[in-house]
């Protein structure tokens, strides 16, 4: 068999050509370059010496000439752990909000959705800086607490909130909450009211209706939200940079510093690929387990 190009085939190819050019030029080729770079090494003046060695990967996994060093593995694990904490937290906070918006009267729904999105109009860095202002020693929060304590006549020691892991977590939650609220809202909003009535009709009170109908039907939204939150949290470096001081290093920071500070593009590429592989594995595992959820909704 050989490929015969009919008019339809040619027209189809022409139609996808621009997109394919973009994908190949901006995604596939750079990715191949990153892969190639990751097997190279750093020249003394900070350029890449191309070659074929697994040294960068060995270093990431902690295998060094002088023995086992878990430094980078710890960074990976810490990033995973933070992404997990963030995801769980935004589900716990985002679900009730999404539920509230979905059940609000249609007149207010758009207003509430708008309010969810408003913070995104401010620059990312500025938003995180705002948290620095809130959390630092002489920040808004400590001032308020101190003021409250003085009113009650209690002694007050400013809380050491910044810089810390906790501050990074708060920043991540704040940053990614909208990306959980919106998909959960979409799932909830799609549920036909008659399903709630059917549950009530069949003897389910409000709590059981929630557990047996509302919650399961919101799963697709939570799955989508999880992918939208978990993956970028793993790669974001600004939040940790600003709120973690220079102490909290995540995979994202590692990659960024290798490229910009250490000027070791080869090692940075290897770290970036490990980050990609990790998120890919987590995402695949997760969607295998829970599906993308569309088959549940599209009944």
């Amino acid at each position: 068999m050989f490929l015969r190009l009919s008019r339809d085939n040619i027209r189809g190819l022409l139609l996808i050509a621009p997109v394919m050019t973009l994908i190949i030029g901006l995604l596939i080729i750079p990715l191949i370059l990153v892969v190639i770079t990751s097997f190279g090494s750093r020249s003394p003046d900070g350029n890449v010496i191309y070659g074929f060695s697994f040294d960068n990967y060995r270093r990431l996994l902690g295998i060094t000439p002088t023995g086992f060093d878990p430094l980078y593995l710890e960074i990976l694990l810490r990033s995973l752990w933070l992404a997990l904490q963030t995801t769980v937290a935004v589900i716990v906070i985002g679900f009730p909000l999404a539920y509230f918006i979905a059940r609000a009267s249609p007149r207010y729904r758009n207003l509430f959705l708008f309010l969810v999105l408003v913070p995104l109009w401010t620059n990312f860095v500025i938003r995180i800086y705002a948290w620095l202002m809130i959390l630092r020693n002489q920040g808004v929060l400590n001032s308020l607490l101190g003021w409250g304590a003085s009113l009650l006549g209690l002694p007050f020691q400013p809380l050491d909130l910044y810089p810390s892991d906790g501050a990074v977590l708060v920043g991540m939650i704040y940053e990614f909450l909208p990306f959980m609220i919106l998909p959960i809202y979409t799932s909830l909003e799609k549920i036909d009211d008659s399903l709630f009535e059917a549950a009530a009709d069949l003897g389910a009170d409000a709590l059981r209706t929630f557990l047996r109908v509302t919650l399961p039907l919101a799963v697709p939204g939570m799955v989508a939200g999880t992918i939208l939150v978990f993956v970028p949290v793993m790669g974001t470096f600004i939040v940790a940079d600003i709120l973690g001081g220079r102490q909290v290093i995540l995979v994202g920071n590692l990659v960024q510093r290798q490229f910009l500070d250490a000027r070791d593009a080869a090692f940075g590429s290897a770290a970036a690929l490990i980050l990609m592989a990790l998120t890919l594995v987590v995402t695949i595992f997760y969607t295998r387990r829970f599906g993308f959820g569309e088959e549940i909704v599209s009944a």
Partner: protein, 365 residues
């Protein structure tokens, strides 16, 4: 006092409308629905059928009046504590559950053990002729099948009353006819009171023991199919159910049930009424096309001269549109029992139209 399966006493429901006005969805409705009855609520769109049904189910609470189920006032009782189940128009099957889980849902809520649930789900699915469909998902079923699942899911709970809101509305004509028979069969089998909402008069006529005809939030007439059809009590019912000729006129005088009416153009009609009317009152004489004849017969109470305007052959029957001497246009339906189905008259012919006094009903607005 007789106990009814469901009783509505002077029930009204008002909704706040979209622009602040008040929508009177149901106005002072009183109904008595007997145990084991197939009862239909019939009426045009927006007449308050669904709202009435939802007040029985408990999804809406009456603004005024009270709903009784087997004599018990329902008050504020929430839907999950009422001994009724609903079959929704869009079926409302839970998309994330299998058919088995859907059907078992009511029993699960009641805490019936799993083994018994499974047994009864099996029986229920057999009853609606879907044996062995437990593992499927709703989206893998056709509309008609989903309809049956919805029925099984409701009936498995042995409700005192089953409420059905246009359950066949989404099905095509053939399937709808099939499901009508199926529903009748099920209702006889389980002996449960069915309250059935429809705007399809034929469906209501063929299926129901009794029908309540609604319009504008009110119940206009309640009775068995033949009574609603043969003896409509108002112009709306006569017009809504089947086809009818309405002749406007004024009462001349009344003798018991017999009424003489002066029609426009000086014709006199002999008709009947159960109401007491006064001379000069503005009325309508309602007469069904099939109760009128072009073939002369002895003893007809009313005979009018007219001219045929249109002849429409529809197989078993032929419809003749006749303009009477008084200017009224009527439709006459004659059976094609002549071996060659020859028309009794052609367009433009002068004819006489005959009908009796009993099927001619005097109705007020």
């Amino acid at each position: 006092m007789p106990e009814y399966a469901v009783e509505l006493r002077d029930v009204s429901k008002r909704f706040p409308g979209p622009s602040g006005e008040i929508v009177n969805a149901v106005k002072n409705v009183s109904l008595q629905i007997r145990d084991g009855e197939f009862f239909s609520l019939l009426g045009p769109s927006g007449c308050g059928k669904t709202t009435s049904l939802r007040m029985i189910a408990g999804f809406e609470l009456p603004t005024e009046g009270e709903v009784y189920i087997h004599g018990r006032p329902m008050g504020q009782t929430p839907p999950y504590r009422r001994p009724v189940n609903t079959v929704f128009q869009n079926y409302a099957l839970f998309p994330h559950m299998t058919i088995g889980e859907n059907v078992a849902f009511g029993l699960e809520m009641k805490g019936v053990p799993k083994a018994e649930r499974e047994k009864r789900v099996k029986e229920a699915l057999e009853m609606v002729r879907l044996p062995g469909f437990e593992k499927r998902r709703p989206r893998q079923m056709s509309g008609g099948q989903q309809q049956r699942v919805a029925l099984a899911r409701a009936l498995i709970n042995h409700p005192e009353v089953l409420l059905l809101d246009e359950p066949l509305g989404a099905l095509d004509l053939k399937l709808r006819k099939e499901m009508q028979l199926e529903l009748k069969r099920l209702q006889r089998e389980v002996g449960i009171t069915f309250i059935y909402v429809t705007h399809d008069q034929e469906e209501a006529l063929t299926m129901s023991d009794r029908i309540a005809v609604m319009s504008g939030g009110r119940v206009l007439q309640v009775g068995p199919a033949h009574e609603i059809y043969e003896k409509p009590n108002c112009k709306f019912v006569a017009d809504f159910i089947g086809e009818t000729n309405l002749l406007e006129g004024k009462v001349i005088h009344q003798h018991g049930r017999q009424v003489e009416v002066l029609l426009a153009g000086g014709l006199t009609a002999h008709a009947e009424s159960d109401q007491s009317l006064v001379s000069g009152q503005q009325v309508f004489v309602a007469i069904r096309p099939e109760k009128m004849a072009l073939r002369p017969y002895d003893g007809a109470h009313n005979v009018y001269v007219g001219r045929v305007e249109e002849v429409v052959y529809i197989g078993t029957d032929t419809h003749y549109t006749v303009r009477l001497a008084g200017g009224q246009r009527v439709r006459v339906r004659e059976q094609n029992d002549d071996p060659f189905s020859r028309p009794l008259a052609n367009s433009g012919d002068e004819v006489r139209v005959y009908f009796d006094q009993t099927p001619a009903r005097v109705l007020t607005e």
